[in-house]
């Protein structure tokens, strides 16, 4: 398939991204470059200097809302993609509304309790919409421990499912970027198989 055909196919679809940190920002960029038509991004946070070790933002964006900074960065890459932003903290009550109409949803939180809340909400209230979770990407090395696992048609997990971020095991650009791009890759695969 030619790249123009891939792009015109992906243009028809919408992907939701819950969180615009290390996973969400890098995943959004990969999806935008691929030509996904609409990307819905939800995050409550602002860009901080400490984020720049792995998140797709720049020094002159420190202090900006992540959703707006990401919209800006995507617009510097392509104007084909429609970016919808929700400047909010996602919870059990607003997730369904925020991601209504999405063909695929990416879980891109950092906190495991938030991951659980999002998965439970989407899998019960938006059953059938494929959800791609990131779990286990702390530290460095162990490249081949990072895998994609298909639980069923509506749930995929990317990561090593073992390493947890802590003071001694920080998240770094390489492993976080691998997982973010794996999530984007699964999303593209699902969409390419969709009529």
């Amino acid at each position: 398939m030619k790249i123009s055909e891939v792009r015109s196919h992906l243009l028809k679809f919408t992907v939701g991204i819950a969180g615009a940190g290390g996973l969400g920002s890098n995943c959004a960029i990969a999806l935008a470059r691929s030509g996904v038509g609409t990307i819905i991004i939800a995050d409550y946070d602002i860009v901080e200097a400490l984020n720049l070790n792995r998140q797709y933002y720049f020094t002159d964006q420190i202090g900006k809302m992540k959703t707006e900074a990401l919209r800006e960065n995507i617009s510097r890459i392509t104007h084909d993609v429609k970016v919808v932003t929700h400047q909010m903290t996602l919870d059990r009550l607003n997730i369904v509304e925020a991601f209504r109409g999405c063909d695929v949803i990416i879980e891109a939180f950092d906190n495991s309790e938030m991951k659980e809340m999002l998965i439970e909400t989407i899998q019960t209230k938006m059953a059938g919409i494929p959800l791609i979770v990131g779990s286990g990407m702390a530290g460095w090395g162990k490249t081949n421990a990072i895998i994609c696992r298909r639980i069923d048609d509506s749930l995929y997990v990317c990561g090593d499912e073992a390493t947890e971020v802590s003071e001694d095991l920080p998240p770094l650009a390489p492993r976080v970027g691998i997982v973010a791009n794996m999530q984007a890759n699964i999303a593209v695969e699902i969409l390419m198989n969709k009529k």
């Binding site: 940190g21 969400g24 950092d110 991951k115 979770v133 749930l155 997990v157 990561g159 499912e161």
Partner: protein
């Protein structure tokens, strides 16, 4: 004796049935954040004590680690 599929692997458990909580203890799965699906249905954490796993069930479990 019951046979289940746990993360795509066949397992024999020497009981007729067990709850999700009992299975976690029986398999010595230590406490971590996790998602459990039985036959494609997500089981909320508050239902682990009341949800029974039966012979032939397909149980999927994934671990949730902080970081992202």
């Amino acid at each position: 004796m019951m046979r289940i599929v746990l993360n795509n692997r066949e397992e024999e458990l020497c009981r007729e049935s067990m709850t999700v909580s009992e299975m976690l203890i029986f398999k010595k799965f230590s406490y971590r954040m996790r998602i459990i699906k039985i036959n494609g249905n997500l089981i909320p954490k508050e239902n682990y004590d009341s949800t029974v796993i039966h012979d032939g069930d397909d149980v999927q479990m994934l671990y949730l680690m902080s970081g992202g």
